[in-house]
Amino acid sequence: ALSDRLDQVFKTLKGQGSLSEKNMEDALREVRRALLEADVHLSVVKSFIAKVKDEASGQKVLNSLTPGQQVIKVVHDELVAIMGERNEQLNLAAQPPVVVMMVGLQGSGKTTTTAKLAKRLLDRHQKKSLLASLDVYRPAAMEQLATVGREAGVDVFPGRPDADPRDIAQQALEAARRGGQDILFLDTAGRLHVDDDLMQELEDIKKLLDPLEILLVADAMTGQDAVGIARRFNERLDITGVILSKTDGDARGGAALSIRHVTGKPIKFLGTGETLSGLEPFHPDRIASRILG
């Protein structure tokens, strides 16, 4: 683990003097290695290390910590600071129905997460949701949302795969108004951030429905591509938040740091399982520890 590697670097330094240029170089090399192994993007690692170097250099070695622990503390604190506040809630401050749009790459967990969020809002805040699938492409996508919506105890708009997603979205909004629902969730089809037509489709839907939240659902095991993906979705849609899915595995989750770094948008929730209860508010300190490994 990083702590062991750093203790190795500093084994001659215990309890004396300060963290010097030389032993900082070696220590930072280990931190760089840990972050890259955790899938943090190379450019993000470089900028992060530069920051940590400033923070840590010249610090007096504390008696209560080994130098290795001290470096970890600086790195950990810096990670947490970048990751942002814990538990930023969904923004629901508008006339109902508030529109929440779920976007992201194929298979990232949008449909499942939509139902999880709706269930959470119902159970904890007594907010009623209407779910609408705009996925006219994937076989049985609408059936999937209908099933998980039913499981979550919320209504699902009956869309059809031969319709245009823009029309379905507008009809669903009408239905949510008539039905008096607090929130309308739009579950969109997975798409590549470089598919211009499909990204345009999202822009069109945004323009038509003016969602208060546009949430990027990203897989915790995403590698270096996380930067490119997040940047594209953010540039075209100005996303309002991120949900990191499948954090119940052993992926280090460096994508979280990359995404946060390149978009500046808050990570609001973590997907923690396949069932509808598998959703937790974002914990920056827990994710930071996991990335460091």
């Binding site: 290695r33 890259l36 192994e37 955790a38 899938d39 993007h41 190379l42 450019s43 790459l105 194929q106 298979g107 990232s108 967990g109 492409y137 994937r138 076989p139 049985a140 996508a141 059936e143 999937q144 209908a146 099933t147 998980v148 499981e151 590549l192 951030h193 470089v194 897989d219 095991m221 995403t222 590698g223 270096q224 591509d225 490119g228 993906i229 499948k246 119940d248 595995g249 052993d250 992926a251 280090r252 460096g254 994508a255 396949e274």
Partner: protein, 277 residues
Amino acid sequence: LIKGRRIDEELFEDLEGLLITSDFGLETSVAIIEEVRQRHHREMIKQPEMLRQLLRQVVLERLQSSQVDPQPWPEKPGVILVVGVNGVGKTTTIGKLAHYYRGQGQSVMLAAGDTFRAAAVEQLRLWGQRCDCPVIAQQQGSDSASVIYDAHNAAMSRGFDLLIADTAGRLHTKVNLMEELKKINRVLGRQGSRTTHEVWLVLDATTGQNAHSQVKRFHDDLGVTGLIITKLDGTAKGGVVVGLTQAFNLPIRFIGVGEAMEDLRPFDPEQFVEGFF
């Protein structure tokens, strides 16, 4: 990146950065660049273009060492068990594989072994319709191993050439879910005189270094016989597979390059390497 530059330490560093940002992973990137550095010395390479060729060659050799030509199915029906973590593209890939083998004149049956996820059976049924392949299924919540067992019996008695079994996505760290797959493996292994079936692990090209943990666990638990890399039509290059093929000596059977039935290609190491450089 290489054009018009002199071959120096800075160039090697930039090349290493290129590998890292293509998900090769730190360890593999360093090892590849070290090999390039050594061979460029020995072979006295002066032109940058020759360096690009050398880099391509070094990566290609690592991929080719684990590639073996696919063999005809040892028995009838051939059986492919498709496994992998959640959302990587197993069900879609099965639809594509069915189309591919039908195109070669084989009769294909599908087993709806994902008895857990919402609308998983419906999704596979629709794929079955597209290539005119029967889908054996039971209702949601039934036992996956029993569905696959029934499908295997049906494929044998009806003389099908190939049975492809879908399974629910699962994270490799979930012991009870991996036990379910081991049970399916045993069930397939004991039927008739069959002792060999393919176990193909599907990996998403956007996955980073966690692919190592996925392959290790699935391989330790099941004996993986092939890999499929999906979503290579995106911007992710799937560089992690270079380190994987080295570490586990597993062949890559196919790649997925889109969401339609035809978007499947047999793995070609040369084309794959082209995608990087």
